[in-house]
């Protein structure tokens, strides 16, 4: 903020009723209210959504791209978390 820059906000849009918000992009704004209005004008000009969230980018803690492998690989060798791992004869229905 050395040059008096406006802070960055991440923009999330609920594309339609019933769905959860999805990340759409980001923008700079002086405060949250301005971020919301600008997000509407930038990201929702053509009926892209029914609800908007703006979150200060600085408030987001993200996983490290470089650690992707080690961070997620604990799930890779756990095939037994998936239904297809279990042998159910095809005659058995509704399961």
């Amino acid at each position: 903020m050395a040059r008096n820059e406006w802070p960055l906000f991440e923009v999330f849009i609920r594309p339609k009723n019933g769905l959860s918000h999805k990340h759409a992009g980001s923008l700079h704004a002086a405060d949250a209210r301005m971020a919301l209005e600008n997000a509407r004008d930038v990201y929702a000009r053509r009926g892209e959504g029914v609800s908007l969230w703006v979150v200060p980018s600085a408030a987001i803690t993200a996983s490290e791209p470089a650690d992707k492998e080690t961070f997620f690989d604990p799930a890779d060798d756990k095939v037994y978390r998936h239904p297809t791992f279990y042998d159910i004869p095809p005659e058995v229905k509704n399961i």
Binding site: P83, Y86, I95
Partner: protein, 330 residues
């Protein structure tokens, strides 16, 4: 189901005479629109949802106990990792649901306190003991089977955060029932002693599983309003019937006998007719006098108390790191 306590609740959810917002709300619900946390909603709708979602959450958490009982004694490594993964999922389900309840303004601390002090209800099914390994098979097959039957329609619940949590849960549930049935299949194709063990588990879990759907429609205190609000899509009896219809052929495939002398397939309706449920047992277990109610609550209280220092230490550590970062920045 996991929220049977609602059906026998005593406090009333009478809503005030229809006014403007109330009618608009109902119109949105009727149009199959989802209600979101910041939307206007009747107090009764909010209260009912907080109660239902938190009872559901408590059930997932308490439900970890009967199965957790067998993790160290699973017969093979394959069974052990499957059971661990399942119990881990149930803990996650509790979390998704508590979070959904919090979107309605409930505090997590209050919800947990209500469970620990015995004020809140959870599904009666988890107050039965797991006496043999076959019980782990029977729970996955019957209890998760009944839960899925109930939870699939909840994916279309009118409250958005609950519906979306249920979508996630249902996706994860799909392996729970299969791992249970696989256990039952192995036992019923095994030695005579193993077959007897499988039959014994079915004998003990069948009726409590049917009770999971809650009282009959006529006796159910909140059913009609919940249906109007589209929190609930099908009546307790409808869901119970679907469960029986789906499950009896699965028992037959195992070569096991459903412990109900009145069970018969009705050609005319295409459904199984089944015997009368002992609702006095249900009431007893739900009110606290089941075989394991005290043990379950004690286990939860102990877990909460034993975890107190961990919660405190994590907070103290976070504060210390914060203070250090601020000092460095200054």
């Amino acid at each position: 189901m996991y929220t049977q306590g609602l059906d026998v609740g005593s406090d009333s959810d009478r809503t005030t005479a229809p006014t403007g917002p109330e009618e608009r709300f109902q119109a949105r619900v009727d149009a199959e629109e989802k209600i979101e946390p910041r939307d206007w909603m009747p107090d009764g709708y909010r209260r009912t949802l907080i109660r239902q979602i938190s009872q559901h959450a408590h059930s997932e958490i308490v439900g970890m106990l009967p199965e957790g009982n067998w993790i160290t004694r699973a017969p093979t490594l394959r069974r052990k990792v499957a059971l661990l993964a399942k119990v881990q999922d149930e803990g996650g389900h509790g979390l998704y649901l508590y979070s959904a309840a919090e979107t309605l303004g409930a505090s997590r601390g209050d919800l947990v306190a209500d469970l620990l002090n015995g004020k809140a209800k959870y599904s009666s099914i988890f107050n039965y003991p797991t006496l043999t390994w076959a019980d782990i098979g029977a729970i996955g097959w019957l209890v998760d089977g009944a839960a899925i039957m109930n939870q699939v329609p909840l994916c279309r619940c009118s409250y958005g955060p609950y519906a979306r949590a249920m979508v996630r849960i249902c996706r994860e549930e799909s392996f729970h029932q299969r791992q249970g049935y696989e256990i039952m299949l192995a036992l019923s194709r095994g030695s005579d002693a193993q077959k007897r063990m499988a039959q014994d588990a079915l004998d003990r879990w069948w009726w409590p599983s049917l009770m999971m759907f809650g009282p009959s429609d006529g006796q159910s205190a909140h059913s009609a309003q919940s249906m109007r609000w589209k929190i609930k899509r099908f009546s307790n009896d409808e869901l119970r019937q679907r469960f029986v219809d789906a499950t009896v052929p699965q028992a037959e495939f195992l070569g096991l006998t459903v412990p109900d002398p009145d069970l018969a397939f009705d050609e005319a309706t295409g459904h199984y007719r089944f015997g009368a449920i002992d609702w006095s047992e249900f009431e007893r277990v739900l009110k606290g006098d089941g075989p394991c109610n005290r043990e379950r609550l004690e286990a939860r209280r102990k877990a909460w108390d034993d975890g107190a220092w961990v919660r405190e230490a994590a907070l103290a550590h976070a504060k210390k790191k914060d203070a250090r970062a601020q000092a460095a920045a200054a």
